[in-house]
């Protein structure tokens, strides 16, 4: 790992200032992705700006029919939170299956979605529940947030502060985990509620995406059986040592059915 200047600002304004003043600055939340990337020299920032000293970025609340999760809230806190467990159990269950217990104690929602790893779980929750991403500058709809592999709509100096998840009538998440890393080979989140009928797929493509054909089938009949006749196209899906594109396409259908069944 190359050395860098470490900063722990006490406010978002200071964080933004440090970020814009650095020649190649990066933010750190839990660091569960960044620190391994630094060790492999995949990232070599001049400055690392730690958000953990900024007050108000962590915690969970319910307001106006939505669950608001602070960007620095660790996965373990989302998984065990009474409000999340009662109102959006699929979100608690998704958080409970990220990585391992130690990763869940440190890794954060904001860090995960800002990184937008194509095999991460949280992007499926944000997109599949039709959430809104709050930043230090604006609100961004989930449909506009994830723009490509490791790419988001975040601008230079923009910092995720929270995510607001509208409470769905029904939601379920199922993933086919890589047995070593626990990352999603394919993960599917289905939901029905104020954000409509949504199916978000992670792990399968270069970036989390919504499946129009699965959503259409579920819009009229929100049952696993309604998906029996739907075939998911393999075109554009990932093909690697873990799974071929054809296999991933097949898994999208299977995971979607199981996710609907998991809604109860």
């Amino acid at each position: 790992m190359y050395d860098f200047a470490y900063h722990r600002p006490a406010s978002l304004e200071e964080a933004e200032r440090l970020l814009s003043g650095a020649s190649d600055g990066t933010l750190i939340a839990g660091g569960m992705t960044l620190i391994p990337a630094l060790k492999q020299r995949l990232a070599s920032p001049s400055d690392v700006i730690d958000l953990s000293g900024v007050a108000g970025l962590s915690g969970i609340s319910e307001a106006g029919g939505a669950i608001v999760v602070g960007a620095l809230t660790p996965h373990a806190a989302v998984a065990s939170d009474a409000v999340v467990t009662a109102r959006v159990p699929a979100l608690a269950a998704l958080a409970a299956e990220i990585g391992d217990p130690q990763v869940r104690n440190r890794g954060t929602l904001g860090g995960s979605i800002a990184n937008n790893d194509p095999v991460a779980d949280y992007p499926a929750a944000v997109l599949g529940l039709g959430a809104t991403v709050r930043t230090n500058r604006r609100e961004i709809a989930a449909d506009d947030f994830f723009t490509g592999m490791f790419e988001t709509a975040l601008e230079d100096g923009e910092i995720v502060t929270a995510v607001s998840f509208p409470v769905p009538d029904k939601a379920g998440y199922t993933k086919f985990s890589n047995p070593a890393s626990r990352y999603a080979v394919v993960g599917v989140l289905v939901s029905r509620g104020p954000a409509g009928t949504r199916v978000a797929v992670t792990g399968a493509g270069p970036c989390v995406f919504r499946s129009a054909e699965l959503e259409q089938a579920l819009a009229g009949d929100f049952t696993a059986a309604a998906l029996d006749a739907v075939t998911v196209a393999a075109e554009g899906l990932n093909s690697d040592i873990h799974a071929s594109a054809d296999y991933r396409a097949h898994l999208v259908g299977v995971m979607a059915k199981r996710a609907v069944a998991a809604c109860g």
Binding site: D3, D50, D100, Q102
Partner: protein, 155 residues
């Protein structure tokens, strides 16, 4: 260089470190606490698990600077007045260690589990140990030890 201060096993410590210094390097090289091991150095094996403000964390995937102001507990901080912690005693009693390399991380991880779930089932113990690897494959006795410790700690 920056100065980081934290409490390690109840002792206040303060050292000058580089920004890139990992917590595990801080513990082992700056404080001489070599009970916390480095196995894979890629946050997978869990040999480096310590507690940061009571929650288990992989010390190889945490900057020392991120632990500023926290209370860190390492394997050296578990025994009190020369008496092994019940988890350590259970690992010894049930042969929960073979080569011993993964043991500090296993023990620290298991102590965190019992704080959250004082009476875990065998399945729950195995699931919790997802981030702790034993290359001797001695999982069976590790699980047995953790469940025995749970019974001992319940009194």
């Amino acid at each position: 260089m920056l100065t980081v201060s934290m409490s390690v096993n109840g002792r206040k410590v303060s050292r000058k470190v580089e920004g890139r210094t990992l917590l595990v390097e801080f513990l082992r090289e700056h404080l001489g606490l070599t009970g916390t091991h480095v196995g894979c150095d890629t946050s997978q094996c869990g040999a480096c698990v310590v507690h940061v403000d009571g929650a288990s964390a992989k010390a190889c995937t945490l900057l020392a600077a991120q632990a500023e102001g926290t209370e860190v507990t390492t394997i050296e901080g578990l025994a009190k007045n020369g008496e092994l912690h019940p988890m350590q005693a259970a690992f010894k009693e049930h042969h929960g260690l073979q080569c011993g390399f993964c043991t500090p991380g296993m023990v620290m991880s298991a102590v965190d589990l019992l704080k959250r779930n004082p009476d875990p089932s065998e399945t729950e113990v195995r699931e919790w140990l997802e981030g702790n690897l034993c290359r001797c494959t001695g999982y069976h006795n590790i699980v047995k030890a953790i469940r025995a410790a749970a019974r001992a700690m319940a009194g």
